[in-house]
Symmetry: C2
């Protein structure tokens, strides 16, 4: 069994894809799968799969394949789906509302405990079963409730001051939908950027160049 | 100057990030930047930057750095920001509405020409300045208007039939927000998946393991 610390970030980034593919296979009633079958399904190479999954020793056997359920649960354990982290969301506009209502937080071991906005017409609305609070209450809320992760769905212009407030209140992990590069301005924080426009540009390039 | 076909997909996926960082630098009035300064800003290694940008020869010089504006425009050319592609969006729920209203399509050389939904209460609404059409009109619309890219913001259960209809009508590129693995079911299409839940799980792992 691997020590989580030994797993490199590129491998970590692929784990959720393995996890959801294995979940799908379990739903289809598949008990075992070879690295080449899994590779065909995920459109990556079998050698990449063997290399990645070697980190979780004991699940693959020559000529036998992987035990789907065992591998699924081991990757779930590595991903920490059973450890609950508290999450808040700042900026309940179109994207924020979509994230709050569409993302299955509990399935991923997260709990959305607070929603914040500066717009007085949004504060007080109920979104995803939660009343939206005023951003002016953010620091107090964080000091009391200690969320581990903040989701930023705010415009670039607000990102610095909101992030600073959150960091001062003990939040160190950010799921960043704002177009503001937090890592340039703050050290010692963990950031996953979702740059939707970048993904569209990559698709456009691939469409133009048929790759 | 590189032939676009020579550039590997991992490099392509980094290009939009270079592009937005260079845009930011131009806005800050920076004329030249060294690979190590750019590396510090983007939190990647200087050698990775030199390796990536070597594909676009002529912009980096030893002890002199990159000409920000030239590199910005060259990467824009490679990304095809001046070539306009037609885009449609299927599924105008929370995520679909957020994408239609928040993503700056024209800045990325795309034009959103149609919105579709099967929900009769959504059809006829005006979103991002466009009237939402009925999904039953999708095939006719595609055959007449020839969109290059379809954005799928529909539930997994609808994804197969909608994608099949689109492919039959000539669409080959998909920006896929549904949790359905199109590549498993269709060959010869180009897909950029946006798996928001995967990104959250990666952040959660990094938060738990402080990496």
């Amino acid at each position: 069994m691997a020590n989580n610390r030994d797993i490199s970030l590129p491998v970590v980034k692929r784990l959720p894809r393995y996890y959801s593919n294995l979940e799908e296979l379990m739903r289809e009633g598949v008990l075992r799968i070879s690295s080449s079958e899994l590779a065909g399904r995920m459109k990556i190479t079998a050698s990449q799969i063997r290399q990645d999954l070697n980190h979780f020793g004991g699940f693959g056997q020559q000529g036998y394949g992987y035990n789907v359920s065992d591998l699924y649960h081991e990757i779930g354990r590595i991903l920490g789906v059973d450890q609950r982290l508290k999450v808040i969301l700042v900026g309940v506009g179109n994207i924020g509302k979509a994230i709050a209502t569409q993302v299955n937080f509990s399935k991923r071991g997260c709990e959305l405990i607070g929603l914040f906005d500066i717009d007085k017409s949004v504060v007080g609305q109920v979104v995803a079963g939660k009343r939206v609070c005023d951003t002016s209450d953010l620091s107090d809320f964080c000091i009391i409730n200690k969320p581990e992760i903040a989701i930023l769905c705010i415009p670039k212009s607000q990102a610095y001051s909101v992030a600073e407030k959150l960091i001062d209140s003990g939040v160190t992990s950010f799921w960043n939908f704002s177009h503001f590069d937090l890592n340039v301005h703050f050290d010692g924080i963990i950031v996953e950027n979702v740059h939707l426009g970048d993904s569209l540009m990559t698709l456009k390039y691939r469409t133009n160049n048929k790759i």
